[in-house]
Amino acid sequence: MSKIIGAVEIGTSCAKALVGEVTEGKSLNIVGKSVRKNEGMRKGEIVDFRKVASSVHAALEEAEKMSGTTVDSVYLAQTGAHIKGSFLRGSANVASPDGRVSVDDLQTAANEAKRKQPASGRSYVHHVRMPIQLDGRSVEDPVGMIGKKVELIYWSIEGDESAIRMNLDLAHNYGLEVADLILSSIASSTMVAGPDLRRAGVLVIDLGAGVTDLALYRNGNVAYTGVIPVGGDHLTGDLSMGLRVLEPYAEELKLEYGKAQSDPSDVDQQLWIIGNKTIGDRKVPRKTMTDIIHVRVVELFEIISKELGDLLDTSELGAGVLLTGGASRLPGIEQLASKVLGVPVTKANFPSGLGNELAQPENSTVLGLLHYGLEDHGLPGEQHKPTNSGFIKKLGGLIGI
């Protein structure tokens, strides 16, 4: 029996929708895909709801049409500068007299961890569970084992309630349930950093149009996630102002000639702004263009380095740093990032088996949504219900849906 699931990422430059078909419970086929330009967003946040809604709905419609089916529920990506993460802990003494851990003990610990409510105007987006601790030892599934105390730790991500709500409404308005809200950085790292890389320690930097999403893994677990409100659009904006050209031309120049680091061949090279030598067209030095990009990229990685602080430790990052997202296409960005961060940096690869069209850096979040959604992230003994409205339960009455 097969099941249809959907994934939606409402990104700053594009809204993306995927339709996946799960057969035999495990194997996933992508049967529908659509990307629509999104003009209602800035830096990962909605500024024009109706514009965003129309591109999201158009993307969904097209993806559904392509797949020939309809989707009932979707996994939705969430990012934005308002997102913050922190560790929450909860523990429970093993209740049964024979000292065997039961599912109820785990539930008690989970409830205690999630007891802490976010400040008013904020809601939880996502709780990422760390391995369960039984008397201080990490255990995959302690149910039935003998011990005194179980401890649960979550990396809990919260964000601005109205921003999250708008994101959810975009799916609801199309008549879709949101199966789960997933942090963008977690989704993209699920896609580009497999379990072995996560165990070795890896930092995934997803350079989007509006924001840069960070996820750092140590020993296979999330150790940090973050969002920096700087993305590829900032390169375009800087070029537009620095070269005194309009945004669409700056964007084209960036895609065509942009690079992170200037080289000797740039000197004396002049680029036409529009390219067809229309009246009013003029030339700009390629060196200047590269310099503008260079300072922005250096600054971005300096901010990333500052945000991570001690977490950016070469010895804990066996798999180094992976770059993904549309802006990671910028030639030379990995060398520059490596220089600033002081850690080996490479562009991320996709697992084999994905079509060429899908295996593009800007798709890692939306692809990751499906993969993350399929995995079982519940507590042992808890029933895994991917299409149930899990997120709504998670939040309870908090945002009143």
Binding site: R42, K43, V47, A81, P229, V230, D233, H234, T236, G237, D238, S240, M241, G242, L243, R244, L246, E247, P248, Y249, I274, T278, I279, G280, R282, V284, P285, K287, T288, D291, I292, V295, R296, V298, E299, I303
Partner: protein, 432 residues
């Protein structure tokens, strides 16, 4: 609305007499340390009728200045020393001795206020001086250096002072220190860069004074200038360009359009009110002036309120200089009276201070009166109006705004606005 400005091209001969400007008094006022050094650095030729006044609490700084008129205040509190960057102190002291300041403003029609907004006196007292000047019915243009982005708290403080000053002055032209590095030649020294900032102020003041006080090819009188700039100033733009040779005028226009001062964050890309001043040698042609001024007006989406001036200066030879100054109006309906009663303007100030960043595009004025007058203007259109002007077709209105301009909040990280290009904040010189 359609005063003589409309008919300039038809009626103006080589020179027109500016009788109306007779008896107009202008004063350059430097407030605080940076203001004083700007006043001292001004270089005007033949502008004897413009007085220079400097105001500060620092007695020594005032004593060292070359300005002809000097005023110190706040002596009781600071014993003649500075405010130590305390804006509130600067403001309070100026308020306490406002009668003393008022006396200096009496009978002055046009005021150029120069003040560095990062300082205690410049930031605190300049808005008070601007307010008092407006109460006296003067037209106030302010040129205000802003601290570098990396001077974090001072920069934030200066931005607050800027919006305060915008409430009072008719036009405030910010001169961000971040822009200094973008000026001058490729390897300019720091000193040259600061001198360039000083020259910008001279350029702006000279453009306005030339148009109003000096006899040239095309001028306007002061009452017209006053009428056009009577509203409260919103965002402004200020730029200049020069060219030489047979294509001097066009070259100056191209230079103007890439002027670094026009490509800074917070600089308006459109102007409801635009002042254009063109200076050139004897070869300045009428048709050239006409088409260049039209292109400038189109590029900055200027409406009816254009102050245009053109002077021939034989010393310039083949060189042509263009200076423009524009203001985005905050009052969609500019008062039709010659000058709105000052009391009323002051009353309006309190209403909606948050509007100080509103742009032209949000308050597109489509009152029937205005559109019809636009229509008649079109109909009457001079030849060049019909001529195909697609030179700047790629500067469409929706593209005119800074890329992150529509966001309500700033993208602050450790005191710096990340939406402002890194090269500006990091002082990387851009050569184009």
């Amino acid at each position: 609305m359609n005063t003589n400005q409309e008919t300039f091209f038809e009626t103006n001969d080589d020179s027109s007499l500016n009788n109306n400007s007779f008896g107009i008094r202008a004063k350059v006022i430097g407030v605080g340390g940076a203001g004083i050094s700007l006043v001292d650095g001004l270089r005007f030729d033949n502008f004897d009728f413009v007085d220079n006044l400097i105001i500060d609490v620092d007695i020594k700084a005032v004593a060292d200045s070359l300005a002809s008129q000097k005023l110190t205040f706040g002596r009781r509190h600071t014993r003649g020393m500075g405010t130590g960057g305390d804006v509130n102190l600067g403001k309070r002291l100026a308020e306490e001795e406002k009668d003393k300041i008022r006396k200096e403003l009496e009978g002055v029609d046009l005021i150029f206020l120069l003040a560095g907004l990062g300082g205690g006196v410049g930031g605190g007292a300049a808005p008070v001086v601007a307010r008092l000047a407006r109460e006296h019915g003067a037209l106030v243009f302010a040129f205000t250096p802003l601290p570098f982005s990396w001077e974090k708290t001072r920069h934030a403080q200066a931005e607050e002072c800027l919006s305060e000053l915008r409430k009072h002055a008719n036009a405030v032209i910010p001169l961000p220190n971040d822009s200094l590095l973008q000026m001058g030649g490729e390897d300019s020294t720091a000193l040259e860069c600061f001198a360039e900032a000083g020259r910008n102020v001279s350029r702006g003041i000279a453009a306005i004074c030339n148009i109003v006080f000096k006899k040239g090819m095309i001028d306007v009188d002061f009452s017209y200038l006053r009428k056009v700039f009577s509203g409260r100033g919103g965002r402004t733009l200020f730029g200049y360009g020069k060219g030489s040779g047979t294509e001097g005028l066009r070259e100056a226009l191209r230079d103007l359009l890439v002027c670094p001062m026009l490509h800074m964050p917070d600089v308006s890309k459109a102007a409801d009110i635009l002042l254009i001043f063109i200076q050139g040698g004897t070869s300045l042609s009428m048709s050239g002036l006409q088409s260049v001024s039209k292109e400038i007006r189109d590029s900055f989406k200027a409406g009816e309120d254009v102050v245009f001036g053109a002077h021939v200066d034989e010393n310039l030879g083949e060189e042509v200089k263009i200076t423009i100054l524009g203001v985005t109006s905050l009052d969609p309906l500019v008062p039709t009276a010659d000058v709105a009663p000052v009391a009323q303007q002051v009353l309006e100030l309190g209403k909606n201070p948050k509007q100080s960043h509103r742009s032209k595009l949000e308050i597109t004025n489509t009152s029937p009166e205005k559109t019809s007058s636009m229509a008649t203007r079109k109909k009457r259109g001079r030849k060049s109006d019909n001529k195909e002007q697609n030179t700047f077709f790629f500067m469409e209105a929706e593209n005119q705004r800074g890329i992150f301009d529509d966001l309500p909040s700033r993208n602050m990280y450790e005191g710096e606005d990340l939406d402002v290009p890194s090269y500006l904040r990091r002082g990387v010189k851009i050569v184009i």
